[in-house]
């Protein structure tokens, strides 16, 4: 890992670009059914935004943006959103993951669109959390200027 003092341009560049990557990732998640995109693609870009700060500006700067302990929790929350949508559909009478039976007050077809949106959000959060968690677990304990 590069030392933080030696490359302020890289550190500053990473910190500035990261929010824009997150914004674009949000666009990709939400437009999954209109254009190429969807849950997994958006989630990977969100993870890339988080990892960019960690790689360029160091892990302590990354802690300020996205704490290390949030990774697995966010992953679990994402999967539980996915599972919860299916479970709600099952409890309200349909088969598992049948979005028509979700208790939202839209006509049947639009219910399906909202159901898919919630699934995609769940997948995006899960992928982001898990990729960040994999990176954090792999660099844990590495000697680094600011990772002690």
């Amino acid at each position: 890992m590069i030392k933080r003092d030696e490359n302020p341009i890289l550190a500053l560049g990473g910190r500035v670009i990261s929010p824009f990557i997150m914004l674009f990732a949000l666009y990709v998640i939400f437009h999954g059914h209109y254009s190429p995109g969807g849950g997994f693609q958006g989630g990977t870009m969100l993870a890339a935004a988080v990892l960019l700060v960690r790689l360029s500006a160091g892990s302590d700067m990354g802690e300020l943006q996205f704490k290390k302990s949030w990774g697995t929790y966010l992953g679990a929350v994402g999967v539980l959103i996915y599972f919860g949508t299916g479970l709600v559909a099952m409890l309200w009478g349909g088969n598992y993951l049948n979005y028509e039976y979700l208790p939202l007050s839209f006509p049947a077809n639009e219910n399906r669109a909202w159901g898919i949106l919630s699934i995609e959000i769940g997948v995006g959060l899960a992928v982001m959390g898990i990729l960040a968690a994999i990176y954090d677990d792999l660099v844990e304990g590495e000697p680094n200027a600011w990772n002690a």
């Binding site: 209109y34 254009s35 190429p36 969807g38 997994f40 898990i130 990729l131 677990d137 792999l138």
Partner: protein, 128 residues
């Protein structure tokens, strides 16, 4: 015959990648190189599926207001792409688990070379 062979060039690349992956897995001694070989093998299968989805004159399977939805043969087949999204995620997860294992092996045996590793494992009497 030549037209047929050259027309299916995507599948020939799949074959080349698959064989490179197998070579890496079998003949390289370093554990990380074996993992790279495994990843190349998985990617070759992804390439195979994606190559099999194209059609002559097909467009990206996003609903085009000009062409409309009446004739599905104007869009390439999106099913293989969907399947490969899942396969890519599976590959990422496998790579994550594999690297965690490699790091644990390094912490315990201080080497990543398979020949040296087997030697040190033989002398590892602390385990069973």
């Amino acid at each position: 015959m030549l037209n047929y062979t050259l027309g299916h060039y995507g599948y020939w690349f799949t074959l080349v990648l698959m064989m490179l992956g197998l070579y890496g897995m079998l003949l390289k001694n370093n554990l990380v190189k074996k993992l790279i070989g495994m990843t190349i093998f998985q990617v070759s299968i992804i390439l195979f599926y994606v190559c099999s989805a194209v059609k002559w004159g097909g467009k990206v399977p996003v609903l085009d207001p000009v062409i409309g939805a009446a004739d599905p043969s104007k869009y390439i087949n999106p099913i293989q792409h969907t399947l490969m999204l899942t396969a890519i995620v599976v590959g990422v997860a496998t790579t994550g688990v594999a690297f965690a294992l490699v790091i644990s092996i390094y912490k315990r045996y201080k080497t990543l070379d398979e020949v040296v590793l087997l030697e040190r494992m033989k002398n590892d009497n602390d385990a069973d």
